[in-house]
């Protein structure tokens, strides 16, 4: 029987197998940030254990950083302390840190791919559930808790049960205005938020094959929102082309050798999955969420479903929506374009292409937060910044920002925010804030109109 992409990468990293128990899996790259690492450093220090492979760890500051005036000392004392702790821990343990202001700084899941750290066939972990993003490269990448961060520090390995395998195939032609974000929001809305629990998910079909790396990252990023530990897409020419020449990518002959190996990774034709779903691309439309989990999504033209269930009703009550409501023409005062889901150059290109020559609505506060310093630079170099500024938008500095609102970028209580991020949980973007997840195109259109509009009627 053939093997899946996931099997091939997983099996190549098994160090040992515990009888009737988990497997010891080797980890190629460990990404860390300020919020979920300090307790792991403390744990090792208190037990007198040194870090096994500091050369395989890369650190960045992103979750708890300001997106304005990054050159000034961080105002909030607790945040400043957490960032200082990361710097100290990295210096002490000789770990590469791309701290605030560094040209490589940015959201952990944006910088690793753009630096060429993320490569096909690798195992990667980070104390962040959206580590699934890196699966876009045919990488086994998943989020871990802080105890596991400490385990990887101590041994460069993790003890894990091998997850089951799931494949979601999307074939056909996507309609105009349907972005990768819409594809994944549609998948989650159909399969549900726990459909992927216990599984690693492979995305297959011509829709993903034809997608850019940025788009594939958006899709894999949200695998965790259907419960899957990770998502993967088979590496192909698009993947190799993206990696080629990047700072930490293999160079010259070494690159060619790697490509030859990467080409062996895609799932064999006779491989079997534990679960399979097939979706028609033509059924997908621009999406929007109306509730407090990412599975509560509808096409922007649809109405909120009428479901009799206490948790569903609690969710609508929080959002101040009613069953049967349409979201079209709903006034929106906040728009956020950013997060590890949608803060890459392509996301700002699509937003800028819509915004060009238009003006932001008076009532809207729009926060545009690039995923990294490199994306910020590209926005400027490609002339997108001047398009945004002419339309009345301000660009902020890189970071996780209003996706989880750990810093000052909080949506006020009771306000709606059309957001390109990944979670619409209660209070996620600030206490009492109401999040509506959407693509960067829908977010840009909302910022221009000051309300939710049927994007399909506003495309040239």
């Amino acid at each position: 029987m053939g093997k899946t992409l996931f099997d091939k990468v997983w099996d190549a990293h098994i160090v040992d197998v515990v009888e009737n128990g988990p497997q010891v899996l080797y980890i190629d790259r460990h990404l860390i940030h300020e919020v979920t690492s300090p307790q792991a450093f403390n744990e090792l220090e208190s037990r007198g254990i040194s870090i096994a492979r500091p050369d395989k760890i890369v650190a960045t500051a992103d979750h708890n950083t300001p997106t304005l005036d990054q050159h000034l000392p961080v105002k909030d004392q607790l945040s400043r302390n957490q960032l200082e702790q990361l710097t100290k821990n990295c210096e002490k343990n000789k770990i590469t840190l791309y701290g605030l202001g560094h040209e490589n700084n940015g959201i952990v899941h944006v910088i690793a791919p753009e630096l060429g750290i993320t490569q096909p066939g690798m195992t990667m972990v980070c104390g962040d559930s959206h580590t699934s993003t890196h699966g876009a490269f045919g990488t086994i990448a998943f989020g871990i808790g802080t105890s596991q961060v400490a385990q990887v520090f101590a041994s460069q390995c993790l003890l894990l049960e091998k997850p089951k395998k799931l494949r979601v195939s999307v074939n056909g032609t996507l309609a105009k205005g349907v972005l990768p974000k819409d594809v994944i929001l549609y998948i989650i809305s159909k399969l549900g938020t726990n459909s992927g629990t216990g599984y690693f998910c492979e995305y297959a079909g011509n829709v993903f094959e034809e997608m850019s790396m940025e788009g594939r990252m958006t899709v894999c990023n949200m695998s965790i929102e259907m419960g899957a530990r990770g998502g993967m897409i088979a590496p192909d020419e698009t993947t190799f082309e993206y990696i080629k020449g990047r700072e930490f990518a293999p160079q010259g002959e070494e690159f060619d050798k790697k490509v030859a190996y990467w080409k062996t990774l895609p799932t064999d034709a006779d491989a079997v999955f534990d679960q399979e779903y097939h979706i028609k691309a033509e059924d997908i439309g621009p999406m929007i969420t109306y509730g407090t989990n990412p599975g509560m999504g509808i096409k922007i033209t649809e109405h909120i479903p009428e479901i009799a269930d206490a948790s569903f009703e609690k969710s609508l009550e929080y959002m101040n929506f009613k069953k049967g409501d349409s979201l079209i023409n709903k006034e929106i005062n906040y728009v956020f374009i950013g997060s590890c889901t949608n803060s890459r150059i392509e996301d700002f290109r699509v937003a800028a292409s819509f915004v060009k020559g238009k003006q932001k609505a008076q009532n809207v506060n729009a926060w545009l937060v690039p995923g990294s310093q490199k994306v910020a630079k590209q926005i400027q170099e490609e002339g997108l910044q001047s398009i945004f500024e002419a339309a009345g938008f301000t660009l902020r500095q890189p970071g996780c920002s209003a996706c989880l609102a750990m810093n000052d970028d909080k949506i006020p209580e009771g306000e709606y925010c059309v957001s390109t991020s990944n979670r619409n949980f209660e209070g996620r973007q600030g206490q009492g804030a109401r999040t509506i997840l959407a693509s960067p195109l829908v977010a840009a259109a909302t910022a221009i109109a000051g309300k939710i509009v049927d994007i399909t009627k506003h495309l040239n």
Binding site: Q39, N64, G145, L159, P163, N194, I224, G227, R423
Partner: protein, 192 residues
């Protein structure tokens, strides 16, 4: 890590489904660099009203309920990987969470902190939540050795990874185990 063998306690019912880790511990409380004090802020935005007053209707604030078991709706612990959620629940005094479904990362984090996730059938959960609400002094017994959850009138077997069971019963954690594999890891690295 504290050992877990058996526990008998009353429980607090949380009927809500899809309880995400942002609700268990909101992001604004993640700025600490140690594991202490998170219990004070567990379910912060559900326990307190917007004006800071106590939300009397939230089960954790209802004096009729108590104990070290939380019985919660389906898909508990989804969302963010923050282990702070497990630290917050342990810090508050919970030793067991019962649900019909747990998110992967949360389940691992709980087990790594001596907090036992007990997965029961949907029917068992529904009845249990009902019974606790009717009789808040209902004792629930968790027997990890035999993998049984029981009350005076019913019981159900639950699954746990055999390796994790040994860890819970003995209070072991994975770091010691992984370090004991150092030679194998070194030989593996030599093949890379």
């Amino acid at each position: 890590m504290e050992k877990f063998i058996q526990l008998s306690s009353t429980a607090i019912p949380l009927v809500t489904e899809n309880v995400d880790t942002d609700q268990i511990i909101p992001a604004r409380f993640l700025k600490a660099t140690d594991k202490l004090g998170f219990g004070d802020n567990v379910f912060r935005d559900w326990r307190y009203q917007k004006d800071g007053s106590v939300n009397e209707s939230f089960p954790l604030n209802n004096p009729i309920y108590g104990g070290s078991i939380l019985v919660a709706g389906d898909n508990f612990g989804c969302g963010s990987s923050r282990e702070h959620a497990a630290w917050a629940l342990v810090g508050y005094g919970f030793k067991v969470i019962v649900s019909s479904f747990f998110a992967d990362i949360f389940k691992g984090n709980a087990l790594n902190n001596g907090l036992l996730p007990v997965q029961v059938s949907e029917a068992f959960l529904k009845e249990l939540l009902q019974e606790i609400q009717e009789n808040p002094s209902l004792e629930i017994c968790i027997d990890l050795e035999n993998q049984v959850i029981s009350t005076s009138n019913k019981e159900e077997k639950f699954e746990i990874d055999p390796y994790k069971k040994v860890c819970m019963i003995n209070g072991y954690d994975d770091i010691d185990f992984l370090i004991s594999k150092k030679d194998k890891i070194k030989s593996f690295e030599a093949t890379l």
